[in-house]
Symmetry: D2
Subunit: 93 residues, 4 copies
């Protein structure tokens, strides 16, 4: 059993709704490619998916910092910061 986030049911529901919408957007891009749709529209749709994913990412980042990071630092488990830095580098590209 690994550590768990304490995300409220409300936030969890909000996140899952957003992720379902993103899934639909990705399916929409597949369908555009399938139908040889004009590519400027496809690029716009991809930009919209990145933006939607960024919103989800920020919500999860906030939850992570406010729960896991605080708890583990208080418990003296400072290696949580090294793990977080590795993740942050990936998120920042």
């Amino acid at each position: 059993m690994g550590p768990q986030v304490s995300v409220s049911d409300r936030t969890k529901h909000n996140l899952i709704t957003r992720l379902n919408r993103i899934e639909g957007q990705v399916r929409g891009v597949s369908s555009m490619i399938e139908r040889n749709v004009y590519c400027d529209d496809v690029l716009n749709q991809i930009a919209a998916i990145h933006a939607a994913l960024n919103s989800v990412e920020k919500m999860i980042l906030e939850g992570h910092l406010k729960s896991c990071i605080i708890e583990r630092i208080r418990a003296g488990e400072y290696e949580v910061i090294d793990e977080f830095l590795v993740t942050l580098r990936k998120l920042m590209k």
Copy 2:
């Protein structure tokens, strides 16, 4: 009938395979949130989705520049550049 991209069947198949995989990754994040999985893993998964989406984006961008942009500039339809700049601004943030 709007303009169409001339993407080879091979590239089209490659793009759709990648998009199907991205859809699965988004579903994976939903399932992690559902199971209250440790959030550093979720953030890593989101970073992977952004990266996968970037690969698709670059392939489509290349197709767009090498087909639509060239054809429309040769036809004197320079407004294609203004449309492209708007899209590029969204893709670059």
Copy 3:
């Protein structure tokens, strides 16, 4: 003699003013580091430099697309697109 951009004197002046300001902002970060200033402020200052650089980048990108790209495509030098794709990949990370 390589190809040249036809950027208006007004745009050129605007770009140089912005770049001078960015130089000052970078010097400001050096000075903060020198004085051991609280790092959240330094990070904010760096975010401001990235944003200022993005504005300059968008202006140059627009000039590039509207002059060099159009001219070279009209001249049948389609390799300009390959060069541009390489640059774009760097700009998009």
Copy 4:
């Protein structure tokens, strides 16, 4: 007197050397614009400045997380996380 970062002299020297180099790169872009240099080269130079700035940013981010963030969380000053989230949002776009 605000909080201070405890960055080693070695890291501080490294950061200042990098920032001086970035200042020179920004001056280089000004000079390219002044001489109407071919813009694909200018865009490449700007991409290099963003990358150099990202390296500095990551070093400062690491220092911030490993000093200020840990100390203030241990002191129960959890508002440091809210401040950090605001900064992170700017750095991530």
